[in-house]
């Protein structure tokens, strides 16, 4: 026991303090100037951004910016209130209408962030007598939604239909009338792998469970009109709730849930992360609305996946151990040693490439990852620049030589 509220943070602070100082510290980086969706000035240096979730390059889209500027001028900088009180403008309703059109659903609710959408929907839908069944590799917002709610939480092995089936069968055996919500993600962000939604939704429906799919990393990217993996895999009619975010392909911030459930609108009256926070600023609402219209009709998806395949293939060709296959916008190499991974990040930033350093416990299977998320706005020249720097740093740190040395020995 201790009076010191901060003592519990000593282990993580010790780890943090052992990180390199200066520009090689991955947790102190900041953008001095953002030049475009794919370039910024960092440490006085023009840097290629290879880890931003800006899949469609929407942040500087001329039409989105114009819509945001108009809304800013007409409606001001913020709403200063909850959707329940003064924070619902006509434009918030229009954004929800746009989402309904985009997904072809009867209902849509907009949240102020994607995190809050998961938090609110999961914690509110599943009550004390219900069950939430989640994939082991779920995003933190899903785990936190479970922690905030009162339902019984059960976890199944990542993307494993048989393991899910066993758990649902047990719940049904012990509690035949319980409400069950199965929570899945279209694309798991760290390694870009898709959920086998056909199998997982079939099993869920066989056990009479509701299905929620978080399409945060797949909206815009997959499906004929960019609705995500459920559309791509042809199972939208098996999914009861789709959650998404405006902070990636849509290029701004905010979250949403769409559904055809007849009583869905009740959530506006009971969902605390929807009710007890200010609504999105008008400029954000305007650019999100415009971006959704653009995404539904864009041909940027093939450009994005082509970019990702080029980087994935190139990294694999020079001998990196890959965590990804190129079938999603993510390209990640696995670095066995954590300190080498941290050093790798520092060398890359000095060479003018910003990537994501992803470490356990945020990664599956305790992997250390140098993770890139591609954009349709990247040029092949930028991708070849990333490849050149990856290879240079890989050799500098002995990651690429190791293979040939051990082969010689």
């Amino acid at each position: 026991m201790t009076l010191d509220l901060f003592e519990k943070f000593n282990p993580i602070l010790n780890e943090y303090n052992s990180l390199p100082n200066g520009e090689a510290n991955p947790f102190t980086v900041s953008m001095e100037k953002v030049l475009s969706p794919t370039t910024a000035i960092i440490n006085g240096r023009e840097t290629v951004l290879a880890g931003t979730n800006n899949y469609m390059g929407m942040t500087f889209n001329a039409e989105c910016m114009e819509a945001a500027q108009e809304a800013l001028t007409a409606l001001g900088t913020g709403t200063t209130g909850s959707r329940m009180l003064n924070g619902t403008y006509n434009s918030h309703k229009r954004l929800e209408e746009t989402l309904k059109e985009f997904y072809g659903t009867k209902h849509a609710i907009v949240f102020s962030t994607g995190y809050q959408a998961n938090l609110g929907i999961i914690a509110t839908l599943a009550g004390p007598k219900d069950y939430v069944v989640i994939d082991a590799d779920s995003h933190a917002s899903i785990y936190d939604g479970c922690a905030m709610g009162n339902a019984t939480v059960v976890r199944f092995k990542h993307n494993n239909p048989e393991n899910l089936d066993k758990r649902l069968a047990r719940i049904r055996r012990d509690d035949p009338k319980a409400g069950i919500l199965v929570v899945l993600e279209g694309v798991y962000s760290m390694l870009g792998d898709q959920a086998p939604l056909k199998e997982l939704t079939k099993i869920s429906k066989d056990h009479n469970a509701y299905v929620l799919v978080d399409e945060a990393h797949s909206i815009g990217v997959f499906g004929e009109t960019g609705r995500g993996v459920a559309q791509e895999q042809g199972v939208e009619d098996q999914v009861d709730f789709i959650i998404g975010t405006f902070s990636k392909s849509v290029g701004t911030i905010g979250g949403y849930c769409v559904s055809n459930e007849p009583k869905f609108e009740a959530l506006r009256l009971v969902c605390r992360p929807y009710m007890f926070t200010a609504s999105l600023p008008p400029s954000v609402v305007a650019s999100a609305t415009k971006a959704l219209e653009l995404i539904a009709n864009t041909n940027l998806r093939s450009k994005l996946l082509g970019n990702s395949m080029r980087l994935n293939r190139g990294l694999s060709r020079v001998g990196f151990e890959m965590g990804t296959t190129g079938e999603s916008p993510i390209a990640a190499i696995i670095v066995d040693d954590q300190n080498t991974a941290i050093a790798f990040w520092g060398e890359m930033i000095k060479e003018g490439v910003y990537v994501n350093l992803a470490l356990p416990p945020a990664t599956p299977n305790r992997l250390n990852l140098m993770r890139c998320s591609l954009s349709a706005a990247h040029t092949f020249e930028q991708i070849d620049f990333m490849l050149e720097k990856f290879e240079l740093v890989g050799k500098r740190l002995g990651l690429l030589e190791e293979i040939s040395e051990s082969a010689l020995a």
Binding site: A136, T152, V153, K166, R167, R170, D174
Partner: protein, 83 residues
């Protein structure tokens, strides 16, 4: 067939083996995070093995209260009784 506490404990010890990298001697007082140096994700993986071994649902909700192997054993016994 009702399992005794000792039988449950023995079965759990078997399941812990692959996670027990340092070959620590397991007792009911063994603390997962300290003695076995398991992080919370690994404990959740172990929990998944236990669910399948005993054919029970172990809610993640009770995890914060389970620090030792003995507490895990007691929880499994309770869940088996309610099955």
């Amino acid at each position: 067939m009702t399992l005794t506490v000792d039988e449950i404990f023995d079965q759990i010890c078997e399941l812990i083996k692959p996670f027990n990298k340092k070959n620590v001697t397991i007792s009911k007082d063994t603390i997962f995070s300290v003695d076995l140096e398991l992080d919370s994700l690994t404990v959740m993986d172990l929990l998944s093995e236990i669910e399948d071994e005993f054919d029970i649902t172990v809610p993640l909700n009770i995890l914060p209260d389970l620090e030792t192997v003995g507490q895990f054993t007691d929880a499994v016994q309770k869940l088996l009784a309610n099955k």
